[in-house]
């Protein structure tokens, strides 16, 4: 693929040999065809998809597991670095002790964007992984294309399911009311702060704005966010969606319809623009809040609980880092349930599905959830996990975790609808335009609403 060739290292030898060779009509036309080939290679291979015409999305019943059969399943995921990678490998290792005939092949992907693209490419090419991490809007696309299996019967058979947090249970469903996903790494958003710069945690978003403006001087900009781009949403997009809800409007209706022009949505963007104009908000891509906080050039980072180990590393003991629940807005507290679930692909054989289901159940046992949460900062999906020793120790060290776990019951996830993917990109563009001063918040959002 042209794109990949451009990103690969090219040796001096290959260049010099190119210089000494002469182009022919064929080689020049080969260059012309490169971009088309890139796309077609992904597309044409999909003709062999094992998904057939879409009617064969597999039986809904739970297949029986044969513990004596040698089985290999693949798990495509993005927990590929730091403590997350180690913790996932430990889960696989622990699972292997009870299931010696099942091999779990972890297929690491560097980030969620790559995970989504790679999963789709593999599914289309007829070599889907057995299971993969997925957001609700991705799962919606998979279900529409009949390449994953519904998990209602599976959930019924699981003894831990009843203890899952309410928002987690809801997050496992698509808009058809069926369960299509199994929970894995769940999180909510919290406020990290330089506790030496900001002594008291802000209780309301008004307090937050006031403190932010006060501390933004001498090279300090209180908050830095990534508003996302046309490529997709980012942490700043989630912050905006939470702000809008705490100001009375949800950015997406339950069926995924964008509501960008609603009053609360406009107020939330005006709030951010006001902070930017006052020099209390900076925009960059990646994890700018974490970087600024660590460099003592930022007072806050509004980010997922899973950022805790990364933020702790960025701060490096230079100052005390405070962590607190999100401030409240005029319409009360709001939070966003983030993180992914696991989907089970229809191409898998009965034994592979059964083995994958054993593994999925194993992940959500209270013991594994507690050890996963302790290692990574993600939240355990069931309250029983809090009773585990590993989790008790974490709560003792980080008391704010208890509040965060409670928010799992009330946090709102983005609607699991395919169209949310594209609409989120449009929303990010609106945020960029307004924060750049290119358009007034109401106009930028109205434009995004019109296009969505």
């Amino acid at each position: 693929m042209t794109v990949m060739r451009r990103t690969s290292a090219r040796t001096a030898h290959s260049i010099s040999s190119r210089i000494s060779s002469a182009p022919t009509r064929r080689t020049v036309l080969a260059g012309a065809a490169a971009s088309a080939s890139a796309l077609a290679l992904a597309a044409c291979s999909s003709g062999s998809s094992g998904s057939g015409d879409g009617d064969d999305s597999g039986s809904d019943a739970v297949p029986s597991f044969d513990p004596d059969a040698k089985t290999t399943i693949t798990f495509m995921h993005a927990m590929a670095s730091g403590d997350q990678k180690t913790a996932l490998e430990k889960i696989v290792s622990d699972f292997g002790k009870d299931h010696p005939n099942v091999t779990i092949e972890l297929q690491d992907q560097p980030d969620y964007g790559t995970l989504q693209t790679k999963t789709k490419a593999q599914v289309g090419a007829g070599s889907a992984p057995t299971i993969a991490q997925a957001y609700g809007n991705w799962a919606s696309e998979y279900a529409d294309s009949k390449v994953i299996v519904p998990l209602d019967a599976y959930a019924e058979a699981d003894e831990d399911y009843a203890d899952f947090a309410e928002a987690v249970k809801k997050d496992m469903q698509l808009t058809d009311g069926k369960i299509w996903m199994w929970p894995f790494n769940k999180s909510v958003v919290v406020v990290y702060r330089n506790a030496e710069m900001v002594k008291e945690e802000p209780k309301t978003w008004d307090d937050f704005a006031k403190v932010s403006k006060d501390v933004s001087k001498d090279g300090v900009v209180a908050l830095s966010i990534d508003p996302g781009s046309a490529k997709g949403p980012a942490g700043g997009t989630a912050l905006y969606e939470i702000l809008a809800e705490s100001m009375g409007s949800t950015v997406f209706a339950d069926d995924g319809t964008p509501q960008f022009s609603e009053d609360g949505c406009v107020k939330a963007l005006e709030y951010l623009v006001d902070l930017k104009d006052a020099g209390a908000l900076a925009i960059a891509s990646g994890y700018p809040g974490q970087e600024a906080l660590g460099a003592e050039k930022g007072a806050f980072d509004v980010s997922s609980v899973a950022s805790f180990p990364f933020n702790e590393q960025a701060v490096g003991g230079k100052f005390e880092m405070g962590v607190s629940a999100l401030p409240e807005g005029p319409s009360g507290a709001a939070n966003q349930l983030a993180g992914t679930n696991i989907v089970l692909f229809a191409d898998a054989s009965d034994q592979e599905r059964a083995a994958a289901w054993e593994f999925m159940q194993f992940i959500t046992t209270p013991e594994q959830q507690a050890s996963w949460a302790a290692a990574t900062g993600y939240l355990p999906v069931s309250s029983a996990s809090l009773e585990q020793d590993a989790m008790k120790k974490v709560v003792e060290e980080r008391p704010w975790i208890t509040d965060a776990v409670k928010q799992l019951d009330t946090a709102r996830a983005l609607p699991p609808v395919t169209s949310v993917t594209e609409a989120s990109g449009l929303l990010s563009v609106a945020l960029q335009d307004a924060l750049q001063g290119k358009a007034k918040p109401a106009d930028a959002l109205a434009d995004a609403q019109k296009k969505a």
């Binding site: 990103t7 080969a30 490169a34 971009s35 088309a36 796309l39 696309e141 781009s229 490529k231």
Partner: protein, 328 residues
């Protein structure tokens, strides 16, 4: 600016570009036809070219033709059996500008990038080539340093430049601050985002172009230059009236090849701006990926690929024509 398929035109003069008295051996049409017939009658010849034809067919020709097919469908990437034939629907959407962003907007952004990248890259490469053309060790080291940027992987270098352009902690703004100049949101402000990408692209690719021009300069006639100097030409006159005319085939080659590869550029847009802010850096190449692989509009992405193919084809034909004309 170069592609892996790029190479110097066969028709470029090796010595004394196009001067009388040094003609390239001409081959008559009849002789060429006879040679072609001989090749076609030899089974061994087919054996020799079979691997190349197979690779070219599998990886280039068939996928290209398949892309034409996909572009006429509302294609379901996950389950092709659910795809729906819509004829020229994707092309109608494209030409009517009803997509987000509109095709015409991405076409305009692509033109901006290609023109600026090619013009700046070519002029800078020529200037650098003139500076490092001499064979001293220092100049050789300089040529190597330009080339090092070119052979470094695009993603890695783009990530480094992402930090250089960081609005708060980046080197670029650090320099501006030292000079007491206002800092710039290089990648987050739509006035500067494309400019920043062009700076990166030129930095990354100029090494190859310098090498092409250094090669070209080595083939220019020293006698003509010396004669011009004896006749009283100043350095600028000597360059513009003696050296540059001899370099025209190389300039044409660089411009066309740079245009083609700039049209296909992707990495810097993906890593540095993600097509933003807004859609200010959303080129056709970037939107092709975004539509086909992220948003699931694979059919529309294929239609964009076909258009990119046609534009590249036209440029390639122009290159071949120019090369042929200059060689006569």
């Amino acid at each position: 600016m170069s592609t892996s398929e790029s190479s110097l035109p066969q028709t470029l003069p090796r010595t004394g570009a196009g001067r009388p008295g040094n003609p390239a051996p001409r081959t008559g049409p009849a002789r060429r036809r006879s040679r072609a017939r001989r090749a076609l009658t030899s089974p061994i010849a087919y054996l020799f070219v079979a691997p190349a034809i197979a690779i070219f067919g599998i990886w280039t020709i068939f996928p290209t033709l398949y892309t034409f097919r996909v572009s006429t469908f509302d294609w379901n990437q996950l389950n092709p059996a659910m795809s729906e034939f819509i004829g020229l629907g994707n092309y109608r959407d494209m030409l009517s500008g009803s997509t987000n962003p509109s095709f015409w907007q991405t076409f305009g952004v692509s033109c901006y990038f290609v023109i600026a990248n090619v013009v700046v890259g070519t002029i800078l490469a020529l200037l650098l080539a003139l500076l490092v053309r001499r064979g001293s060790k220092l100049m050789a080291a300089a040529r190597t340093s330009f080339f090092l940027a070119y052979i470094a992987p695009g993603v890695a270098t783009a990530l480094i430049w992402l930090w250089i352009f960081n609005p708060r902690f980046g080197l670029a703004n650090g320099v501006l601050s030292l000079l007491h100049l206002p800092v710039i949101d290089w990648l987050g402000d739509s006035r500067y985002a494309m400019l920043s990408i062009i700076v990166y692209s030129v930095w990354h690719e100029v090494g190859f172009l310098v090498l092409v021009f250094v090669g070209g300069l080595m083939t220019t006639s020293g006698e003509l230059s010396e004669a011009a100097k004896v006749d009283g030409a100043n350095p600028w006159q000597e360059f513009s009236r003696v050296t540059l005319p001899q370099l025209i085939p190389y300039v044409a080659f660089v411009v066309i090849i740079s245009s083609i590869s700039s049209l296909q550029a992707f990495t810097q847009f993906f890593v540095l701006t993600g097509g933003g802010p807004g859609y200010s850096t959303s080129t056709i190449g970037f939107q092709l990926y975004q539509q086909a692989f992220v948003l699931g509009n694979t059919g529309y992405g294929a239609a964009l690929a076909v258009v990119l193919f046609l534009i590249t084809l036209v440029l390639s034909i122009i290159q071949l024509r120019i090369s042929a004309r200059l060689s006569r």
